[in-house]
């Protein structure tokens, strides 16, 4: 550390800091109130999923995959089974593809709700008491989790996906319940926007803070709402459609500014697009089988030929990818997990310097990291 020049102070945020939404330590170097350097310390939740996946079969791992990004467990499972299906050239029935789209979009809503609530709570005082928006968002997120509970029996980690299709079909009355829930959430999104965007303190803390340029965004490989918030019109659901996303009409929201407010705007618009997609998928849901594979009777039942594939899905935090190398056995030879949050978090040391210390929390929240996915 260079102690010449103006007086500097090293401050430790975390590993147990309320705004980290997990375990994350930032060693922040300050000059007065201004941050000059950030060293991010991660790995507290590291379980070495990549080694673990080499010991688990294609039938076992999908339910473990949900533990990488536990806030959006459905998307993690999605990427893994898609990679295995690509190597094995397994067909996925149309009904299963639609069900996958429905749960992935519901998951996006649930994940963005948790993000909005916690981010606004991080900026607490500016929103007249802090926990208001958080509690509203959690209230709505519970409704989505109720839908998942009715579908798979679990509220956080699902095991809904399996190679060749899905494990469960929707129960009677679920589609109607789902429609009612998304109608309700759609109205509530408008309320949140009115609460936030008329709040001068919120705007002051979000606008012009944490700007990511187009060039930097691509160079670091940040994805999802962060990439689109920096003016890059790219969404895997449209640019590289998978699981029948080409059947649905939806908009890809983008913003030019690249600041916290732009990322907020993109996510708010994505709520509505997710709702549109779910409605279309429920309307057009085909009948038929939900899996092209025989029911699972043993863990080593799924074998895929030698080969490799990289499959990616557009998760709530961006490109979630799974790169599988198969040696022809029932387990992958190697599995690389591209966690969106890992790449997104890598932007922090590059954009935080120059901001005030209070902005660190606002910027970190706007990135929406989930540490299960950062550390894997």
């Amino acid at each position: 550390m260079d102690w010449s020049g103006p007086e500097r102070l090293q401050m430790n945020m975390g590993p147990q800091h309320p705004s980290a939404h997990g375990v994350f330590r930032a060693i922040v170097t300050l000059e007065g109130e201004t941050v000059v350097a950030v060293d991010a310390v991660i790995g507290y939740l590291h379980r070495c999923h990549e080694k673990l996946s080499e010991t688990l079969t294609y039938a076992q791992y999908p339910s473990i995959a949900s533990k990488t990004d536990y806030v959006a467990a459905m998307t993690s499972e999605f990427a893994y089974v898609m990679a295995a299906e690509e190597i094995g050239k397994f067909e996925v029935p149309k009904r299963a593809q639609y069900l996958r789209v429905i749960v992935a979009e519901l998951q996006r809503i649930a994940s963005h709700l948790l993000w909005l609530g916690t981010w606004c709570m991080d900026m607490g005082g500016a929103l007249g008491g802090g926990a208001t928006i958080f509690l509203y968002c959690i209230r709505e997120r519970e409704l989505v989790l109720d839908l998942f509970e009715a579908l798979v029996g679990a509220r956080l980690l699902y095991g809904f996906f399996q190679v060749g299709g899905t494990r469960y079909d929707i129960p009677d009355g679920w589609a109607q319940k789902c429609r009612e829930t998304i109608d309700l959430i759609e109205g509530r999104i408008d309320e949140y926007e009115q609460m936030l965007e008329r709040n001068a303190f919120f705007l002051a803390r979000a606008k012009g803070v944490g700007i990511v340029s187009r060039e930097l965004a691509q160079d670091v490989g940040i994805a999802g709402p962060l990439l689109r918030g920096s003016g890059i019109d790219y969404d895997l659901r449209r640019n590289a459609p998978y699981s029948s996303y080409q059947d649905f009409d939806f908009r890809v929201p983008t913003e030019k500014d690249g600041d916290c407010f732009a990322r907020y705007r993109v996510r708010m618009a994505e709520f509505r697009e997710a709702i549109t997609i779910i409605r279309q998928a429920l309307d057009k849901l085909p009948s038929g089988p939900i899996s092209s594979r025989p029911a699972l009777k043993s863990v080593a039942q799924i074998r895929i030929p030698k080969g490799e594939a990289y499959a990616r899905v557009e998760g709530p935090r961006g490109e979630v990818g799974s790169y599988i190398i198969s040696d022809g056995s029932a387990k992958p030879y190697r599995m690389k997990w591209r966690g969106a949050s890992f790449s997104n978090l890598a932007i922090l040391p590059l954009i935080i310097p120059g901001h005030k210390v209070a902005d660190v929390v606002a910027i970190m929240g706007s990135v929406d990291p989930v540490f299960g996915e950062v550390d894997r």
Binding site: I42, H46, E50, K51, D219, Y310, G321, A346
Partner: protein, 149 residues
């Protein structure tokens, strides 16, 4: 630039086979690693750095794998280089892509690959005192690590 143009452009410059799969796979010798990355970024417009990782092919040695994308034209490239048996040093891509910084640190952490030219090569996920590199095939899943068993 379409995928076909990118493929013939790489084949002409590096004299290697490029597969027709998506993402297309390019394998070069380690001494042309940084040159390939620079070519992908500047000439082919693959400015999006998706991930960097490695694969342990046991006695055949380590292989470094990088995925980059051209988001405008939807061209996806999987760049590979075989380091050779017993070799665990590779040129760093941090001068080309800033995203390589954390990814190479993770790769060093998990495989023990030394990336020459990396500005800050230290463990990222495991603690600094950890012994061994877990994703090597020679590292058993149940390797004890005191004080945990």
């Amino acid at each position: 630039m379409t995928a076909d143009q990118a493929r013939s452009s790489i084949a002409a410059t590096f004299g290697v086979e490029v597969t027709a799969a998506v993402p297309m796979v390019v394998t070069v010798a380690p001494d042309r690693w940084e040159e390939l990355a620079r070519f992908a970024k500047d000439t082919l417009g693959c400015r999006f750095f998706s991930f960097l990782t490695a694969v342990d092919w046991k006695e055949q040695g380590l292989e470094v794998v990088v995925k980059v994308d051209n988001l405008d034209d939807n061209v996806a490239l999987l760049l590979k280089t075989r380091l050779g048996p017993g070799v665990s040093a590779c040129a760093s891509l941090t001068p080309v892509y800033r995203g390589a910084n954390w990814m190479e640190r993770e790769c060093f952490d998990m495989f023990g690959i030394h990336f020459d030219g990396h500005p800050d090569l230290r463990r990222i996920l495991l603690e600094d005192t950890w012994v061994g590199h877990p994703l090597l095939k020679s590292y058993a899943v149940d390797t004890p690590h005191p004080p945990y068993r």
